[in-house]
């Protein structure tokens, strides 16, 4: 009986692990897409609205779901809380909190890191150019992420379940 429970436990845990890794692969393109949308909204806000950065960030956050939304509203909140924090620093701090929550790769995060010294620090045209560049890079990353998802999502699910089975079988 204990053997059975133990086996089920092992099987469950390894399956869960596999599914989580698979979920990360599934979420990454979604998050990258959300980031693109958010940056596009931000670009529009900056280009046509000249909206102050915190408001623009909130607006962009409203256009997408968590966790990207959290990133943007977090940055906006940090800016509004004052203390002479610049837009870039706010973004940097928000990114620090966002990174563990998201399923993005360090390579994806560097795209956002590249915005840190720029965000809010130059005129409209410059901002738009930097944001467009970031969106472009995100599009590239998304295509790659989608490809990886197609290849690896199912694989990790299967591998998770099968490795659990294997362990159970050997230990039984």
């Amino acid at each position: 009986m204990f053997k059975l429970i133990g086996s089920l436990l092992i099987l469950g845990v390894s399956s869960l692990l596999g599914f989580r890794v698979a979920a990360a692969y599934a979420r990454r393109p979604t998050e990258l897409r959300a980031l693109q949308t958010a940056l596009a909204v931000l670009t529009t806000e900056i280009e046509y609205g000249a909206t102050p950065l915190p408001d623009a960030l909130r607006q962009a956050g409203r256009a997408v779901g968590a966790p990207v939304c959290t990133l943007l509203t977090d940055a906006a909140g940090r800016m509004e809380s004052g203390g002479g924090i610049t837009g870039g620093e706010a973004l940097q701090q928000a990114l620090g909190r966002f990174a563990p929550e998201s399923h993005l790769r360090p390579a994806d995060l560097t795209v956002l890191q590249a915005l840190v010294p720029v965000l809010g620090a130059s005129d409209r045209r410059d901002q738009v150019r930097h944001l467009r560049l970031a969106v472009e890079r995100l599009v590239g990353a998304e295509a790659q992420a989608a490809d990886e998802r197609q290849r690896y999502e199912r694989m990790y699910k299967y591998v998770g379940v099968l490795s659990g089975l294997l362990v159970v079988l050997i230990l039984y």
Binding site: M155, Y158, V159, L165, L166, I170, Y172
Partner: protein, 66 residues
Amino acid sequence: MAIDVLLLFKIAGVGIIVALMATILKQAGKDDQGQLVTLVGFLLVIMIVASLLGKFFGLVRTTFGM
């Protein structure tokens, strides 16, 4: 004896699972990992079979007084 039949199933099961995993990994383009899984499976089975063989030889020896 029933335990020993289970051993047969165990080996067959390991074989089938390892084969499945290798195929899936190969499909995903991770040939190296596929190979590795195959190797691990092989070693596992060898360990089972080796211990079985050891038992077998021991028995033969005692039986025939060698």
